[in-house]
Structure formats: structure tokens, C-alpha cells
Symmetry: C2
Subunit: 275 residues, 2 copies
Amino acid sequence: MPTPVDLSRLSFNQMTCDTANLTQAIEASAKAGLKWIGVWRHKIKDAPVAQFGKQIRDAGLGVSGLCRGGMFPSLNPADRQRRIEDNLRAIDEAAALGTDTLVMVCGGIPQGSRDLPGARRMVVDGLAAIVPHAKAAGVRIGIEPLHPMYAADRSVVSTLGLANDMADQVGSGQVGVVIDVYHVWWDPQVYREIERSRGRIFGFHVCDWLVPTPHMLMGRGMMGDGIIEIARLREAVDAQGYTGPIECEIFNQEVWDAPIDQTMARMKHTFVTYC
Amino acid sequence: MPTPVDLSRLSFNQMTCDTANLTQAIEASAKAGLKWIGVWRHKIKDAPVAQFGKQIRDAGLGVSGLCRGGMFPSLNPADRQRRIEDNLRAIDEAAALGTDTLVMVCGGIPQGSRDLPGARRMVVDGLAAIVPHAKAAGVRIGIEPLHPMYAADRSVVSTLGLANDMADQVGSGQVGVVIDVYHVWWDPQVYREIERSRGRIFGFHVCDWLVPTPHMLMGRGMMGDGIIEIARLREAVDAQGYTGPIECEIFNQEVWDAPIDQTMARMKHTFVTYC
């Protein structure tokens, strides 16, 4: 039997309810008694970031992470530079929001290219380029490996092993990994790579893999509704010394369409039951 | 520049035109001047298998492989035994058809279970159980690793590395791997694992990964329409001594709906251009 997970670690990643704006997500999270919220960049455009930061703190919440930086690869050097500059802004936003963690979705193969190793090199170069600014801002860069089905168009970082390799290559304590069970559960090497992530796990995300899988993007399930051994993965991550927040992040139209308070209740129940 | 691929290695996997029956696929392959065809089990139900074998030989074609055995995992021991027996029949069908290669889609996580390592053990046990019969029949067992997006419901063998591990565990020259670019292209370790497959590569399949990816099952593209470095993978496979047929296998409604002769022409052109 897995050790019980502490409900106080649960964080509501706001993309679990895309239909709510950030203010609504903050209010619902606080009302549900949560301690954490995970924020997305496209949701902080309505007001100055620092104002959202204050609103979140005033609601008694911490920000577990800001999603997302990354998207480094491009065949055009000027475009790569623009992407790096956007990541510098993301670091500033994370700091203004009051979180020490920026989650990276590193980007796919550039349009017009088939060069996967080249795209991976661009990711490492991009990460290295933003390290000094991240360090100065006190923001950690968490490389989130994405499921291989997103390797072409979202992230060429397809395994936790590769994320660890990249963190090693960049060679800065500012760069680590964010582990989402949805992206890594299938990997025969995942437990070995979780051990290798020790000391640089900057985030942990949960949801479930549904069978049959309804959709490549919108097919995530609530914890317990699928086949992932979430508690086993959570214990493996904890065993490496990770004691931080655990974000629930579910892209699923049915979940999005449910009233947010109902989603909060369901999320809390399935979190303590299956994580 | 990659070395040119020999058109005589091209094999028409009949699931590239699901709308055709086996007789139509044989006739179209012969008319297109191909030397090989890849056959699926559900397409040989219309007549005795040996009769199809003769028809294929009479058309001047060889069978590059029979798809598919596998589907081993089940929580019920009697059901696991039934699945093994079905694989023994598949071996007999391969022999009757005149091919020395049975392609394995090994099966997903059993219904009612979340035990991924357990399912993987059931695959190894199932493979080991059919080796003696495969040996007696002169049929080789090719483990085809499937893309991780199929790990839950189709194959828990998600990487070429795991397929190699399993072949090692079974420890018989009768068991090797079948490499499909669609399933392995994203893997940071694929070139290392192709080297490790030396001497046990029993098949090589091509198609392409489209961007955006239209569908989890039916989203494969014709060679050149996507982002896979097919020629590089083909050369890596060849470099390990593989000189056998190369199957084109495309699940895509648009391709299925095209006239089969048109698909043949397009396949031949894209094969020599992009493989």
C-alpha cells in the first residue's frame, strides 16, 4: 500500500478548467481550501502580473509554477532570438507572480525541417541562454518532458532521460525537470530516470491516461479513471526528496464543461484516493 | 546524401489499402512490379491460407511478413493460454502463407489492471511459450515496438530498447524485432538500439509522421509528407546487415480511399525519393 498523500500538496493547474479566468480559478481554489494554484501565461494577460500575484497571495495560495516557457527551435536565428527573449519575459512574469518555477514545453521540430537532433540542440542552447536571467530572478527552469506523441509539434524532449541529459548538458542548478505522469508513465526507464532527477525535481503533475484514449490533446482523465499507477510514481518522486506541490492538470472538454466547484471536489477526492 | 534504396525491396503492406481484399492487393502489387507483399491475418479468412500462399507465389511475390501475432496480456490464466494458442495458429498461417516472419503486436495492459510491468512480464512469458512451435515451423517472431501512445491498449512494448531487452530475455534466435519508423523515430536512443538489434532485425516498415497529426490511429502519412528522417533510419538498419524487404504500411482514410493503382504509383515514387 502506498503512503497517503497530503492534501495540502494539491495544486489546481488552471488548465483543468480552461473556461474559468484566473480570478475565478483563484477564488474556486481558495474556496476549496487548496494551498496552491498552477498558472498559465495566456491567462495573465487581463491585468498586470504583479496584481495577480498579490491576488493569489491574498487568497492564501502559493503559485506552484508558471506554464509555460520553451518553444526554442526555429530554423531562423532571429526567430530563435525572439523566442529566447520571450522566455526572459516569462521568467520576469514568474517572479512577478511570486513563483520560483517556470515550466518549459521546449518546442517541436521547426517547420521545414526533419532534423530532430538539431531541434534538440536548439533546446539546449535556448535553455543555456536564459540561465543567467533565471538565476538573477530567482526562478528555476523545469524541463517538462512531453509524451512522444507530441515530439513533432510540441516538444522534442520526449523522455525524462532526455530531460535529465539536457539538464546535465546545461549544467546549472537553475535547470531541472518537471514530471507529469501523463507524459512518462509508459517509459520502461521512468523509475531509473526519476532517481537520476534527484535534487532537480521542480514540479510533479498528475492526471490519468484513459482507455480508450479519446483524443491526442484533450483526452486526459481525472485521477483513477485511467491506467496510470499514479501513487507508485508519486512515491518514487517523493523518495528522491521532492516534498513540493503536486499539480492536477487535465485537458478534457468534459472536465472543462463541469462547474468548477464540482471539479474541485472531484479533484480533491481522487487526489487522496489515487495519488 | 543517403545511398539510394533499391525499389525491389519495397513491400506493399496490405493495410495501406484496407478497402482492397487480399486478392486485389496481390494483383495490384504484381501489376505495379513489386516483389513483396505484407499480409494481415484478418484478410486471409476468405480462403484456405495455403491457397493464398500459392496465389502470391504465382503472382511472383514473396510475403515479407504476416501481421500480427501477440496480444498476450490478460489477468485470466485460461485467457492467456487461449491467446498463446492463437499465436500458435498464427505461426502455422505464416508457414502456410510461405513467409518466415510473424510480426508481433504484443498487447496492452489487461482490462482491470494498472500493472504495466506485470503486462510486460506476460509478453515475455507468451513469447517464450511460442518459441518451440515457431522453431519447428521455421517462422521467426518479430517483436514490433509500438509508439508509446499505444502502450495502454495495443502494446506495452513501447521502445526498441524494450523489444531488444525482451528478445534478450527470451534468449532464442527465433525472436527478434521489427522496426517501424512511425513507432520509433522520436526515441533519443533509437540509433543505439538499432545497433543493438544487429542480427535480429526481421522487418523494417516505413510511412511518415504528419504535422499536425490528424488522428492517433489513422494519421499516418505517405513517405515524405511528414517529419521522419526515414532514409537515415533505413541506412542505420541496413548498416546492421538488414537487406530484406521494406514494408510500406499506412493507416490513413484518404490513402485507403484512393484507387489502389494510384497508391502503388505514389508509394513507389515516395519510396525511392524519401527512403
